[in-house]
Symmetry: C2
Subunit: 309 residues, 2 copies
């Protein structure tokens, strides 16, 4: 029951030897979702010992090169490795031309279809789901059309308490009713409240990806209560003017978003190449939001399952 | 007076953690020529402690992704770093569309112009020169239009022997004549032979890049006597059928080309991902051509200047 974030790149526009461009893989119970796709992502995926062929669905925030140039090599490699299943790629409309241009020049002999789904939203909108997961896109505040993505496990079926089965003499149909979260109403008028006989087996987990963005008021609402918030922190304090001009955030602004959203944990990255050592970013963030992590390439952040019994 | 080859990538189609796709930088007296441009080349250039802004001219062999996908990030980074001088890129005609597509999607705000020069040749043809260097393109035998490149220092001006100046009482004009390699013919009919009074100060150095290619008879003629021959060796002995089907070469075929060409040294790379450890390739090559090197990412091969006095 993994819910694990793999950080593949923490650079901003200019990569460095130890900071690749933006890319992350969220492993939700073994399904691998690739979020952004900076140059070199296929090598970083291998370095992280993840399987390229197991990549499930791709989510691209925006069409700046440092978030997307890795898709070309990745798609080619997938084809050479024998992928046949379509690969679904959620990305802004601008990706359509980039993808079709790529396929025209390099797609000869491709064994699978990369399928682009244009993301378009001015408020959170569900764009994708699996049996256990919803993915919501929401707009960010960057120089070009940019989206954040919220991955949230679905509320699970209720578990029925073992003692309740004997206590109430529950039938199979009644157990089903309780699992669906409903109360049992018997023919004789007896009511077995769901809260009396059932419980939620675990807390659904959630992760929000917010890169690249300048701060804006709605964002903390849109990612409210998330377990893990990834928020870019391109610049440290004192660089507010530059951050504003480039539609990026500072450490403090990332921390304030985390604080206002009530996120459990904040992870930051996308560091400006002006700061080869960004370790001091953490102090600035922790002054506002102590549960913070400075990402580095290759970092693994696990969100453990919180079970109820 | 550098003539130094930097190996940035030795993978073939499928890169690995320690093998990036094809890219090399030839440093000729401080001018940096980029040969092929696999994904991640901008990170590999930094890793090699070469300067992205000092890259001079780019030569691309063919439009397979593992030789070209790094150009997009590289061009973007050059622009962000403030390059204003046009960048000249020699590549097959198919590169034109890839470049213009790229510029349409990602070229907004570019501060310099990437200029494509279409390479087209069915025999060696000079495509580029500097004061001290000629670059010749020649066709290779691959699945799509592919060129090799031969970098050869120009024959230098002759040096005039100091003792000859006093011995013959040479005038400045006569010294100029001898430097140009001509004999001096005086008004009184005296002839001072160039070989008597002048000598070539050093031997012009040369490097040939041959990837990707199946063997073909003309190749060894076209790279005859080269100081350093880079020849792909995608497969070891025993894989001739696969090599032929994919228009690649085996170790033995690379070695035979080196032998027939009279190259001084052979460097091989572009190893198939079937062979994570390709060290045994070297034994196979050395049986035929002992002066051989197995390239690895980050390797530097220097061709020292051979001076005459």
């Amino acid at each position: 029951m993994n819910f694990t974030l793999n950080i593949l790149g923490t650079a901003s526009a200019l990569p460095m030897v130890n900071r690749y461009p933006s890319a992350q893989v969220l492993d939700v119970r073994g399904r691998l979702f690739l979020i952004d796709c900076g140059e070199g992502v296929q090598m970083q995926i291998r370095r992280q010992r993840l399987s390229i062929l197991k990549l499930d669905t791709v989510f691209i925030s925006h069409l700046h090169g440092d978030h997307v140039f890795g898709i070309f090599g990745l798609l080619s490699t997938m084809s050479m490795l024998g992928r046949t299943a379509p690969l679904h790629i959620y990305a802004p409309e601008a990706f359509r031309k980039a993808l079709s241009d790529f396929m025209a020049s390099f797609g000869d002999g491709f064994k699978f279809e990369p399928v682009h789904h244009a993301v378009s939203a001015d408020a959170p909108v569900k764009i994708f789901e699996t049996r256990s997961l919803d993915v919501t896109a929401f707009p960010l505040n960057h120089r070009i059309e940019t989206y954040g993505y919220l991955f949230r496990e679905k509320t699970p079926m209720k578990n029925v308490r073992k003692d309740a089965i004997s206590q109430f003499g529950l039938s199979l149909a009644e157990i089903g009713t309780l699992k669906r979260g409903e109360d049992v109403v018997r023919e004789d008028g007896t009511v077995i409240l769901n809260t009396e006989a059932a419980y939620q087996p675990y807390e659904p987990r959630s992760f929000a990806y917010c890169s690249d963005t300048a701060p804006f008021p709605e964002l903390s609402e849109w990612v409210k209560g998330v377990d893990l918030l990834y928020h870019e922190a391109t610049f440290p304090c004192g660089y507010e003017t530059l951050a504003q001009a480039t539609f990026h955030s500072t450490t403090r602004q990332a921390a304030e978003c985390a604080l206002q959203s009530g996120a459990r944990k904040l992870a930051v990255g996308h560091y400006s190449s002006r700061f080869p050592d960004a370790s001091f970013f953490l102090d600035e963030i922790k002054e506002i939001f102590p549960e913070a992590i400075l990402c580095h390439d290759g970092m693994v952040i696990d969100i453990p399952l919180k079970k109820f019994e």
